[in-house]
Symmetry: C2
Subunit: 182 residues, 2 copies
Amino acid sequence: MKYCSHCGNRVEWIVPTGDDRPRHVCRRCETVFYKNPVMVVGCIPVWDDKILMCRRAIEPQRGLWTLPAGFLEIGETVAEGAARETREETGAAVIDLRPYLLFDIVHIQQMYFMFRSRLQKPDFNTTRESAEVKLFSQEEVPWGEIAFRVIDKTLQLYFKNKRTGQFDFQIYRIEAPDTQGR
Amino acid sequence: MKYCSHCGNRVEWIVPTGDDRPRHVCRRCETVFYKNPVMVVGCIPVWDDKILMCRRAIEPQRGLWTLPAGFLEIGETVAEGAARETREETGAAVIDLRPYLLFDIVHIQQMYFMFRSRLQKPDFNTTRESAEVKLFSQEEVPWGEIAFRVIDKTLQLYFKNKRTGQFDFQIYRIEAPDTQGR
């Protein structure tokens, strides 16, 4: 950030009065610009004993498999956002959304909020974002070809919890790759 | 938003290529500016059978009572943010944070994520943001003087769930005041 989005003046990187950390501040119109972590919302869509995954048709991680998820938009609840992303990326309608996992991904300034959900019916299709959309049993999941670590972790937790039927809400942190060797 | 924060050019309010809704876009440096809901994180700090509340020393809602909560900052997890806000607003250290409630407050583009927590010891103090910091039993809570509806709802749910000891994670939506008459 170099310029004030309100008045066009150059901004400075200073600690505002009464604050405890530097922010971008416009001294002309006295606006302080706050930057906050962004929420990604997604689903584990289930049909019978299988989960719906999508093979990414776009970057990043084009060609690899993921669960439907994307940025929460202004004007929607987290559950509405997760259902919208699922519809946009797989063509499927999900019902019975249940909060399941929150991931802090501090190094990329994001959180992921993942719901368990059920497909309303086994109708889905490829989309602009998904070159392939497919139901997988646990044995069929393409484990070596998962697009993001947060999705790999989501799937691992889901199948682990599925054994006991206990899907309590849980919070995890995904560390930066260089601190854990991947 | 009127000006591009990268190059200072005037921005336009248009639907970017491949998108489905209008965003602020700079045609000179081709930057698309996304705006997303912001996360507020907070705690219900418990000591014995009482909860710690603060009387606001600053606007908005100066003079009314609330639970410690504030905007999640870049560089911290949701639990770290909730503990930091509690420390900043009450001087207290909280431990044993457990995810409890998520509120969608769509009309103000915010989410509230509230943790249950325990005071490490009964040490707390007034702060720049809190004119008074005090432990309340359920009977003592100043119900008519709660600063925000989301905090009133948090307290109601907490004392309701406390009767059964079942504090499952729950999501609620806080509607705009004009749609529910308050």
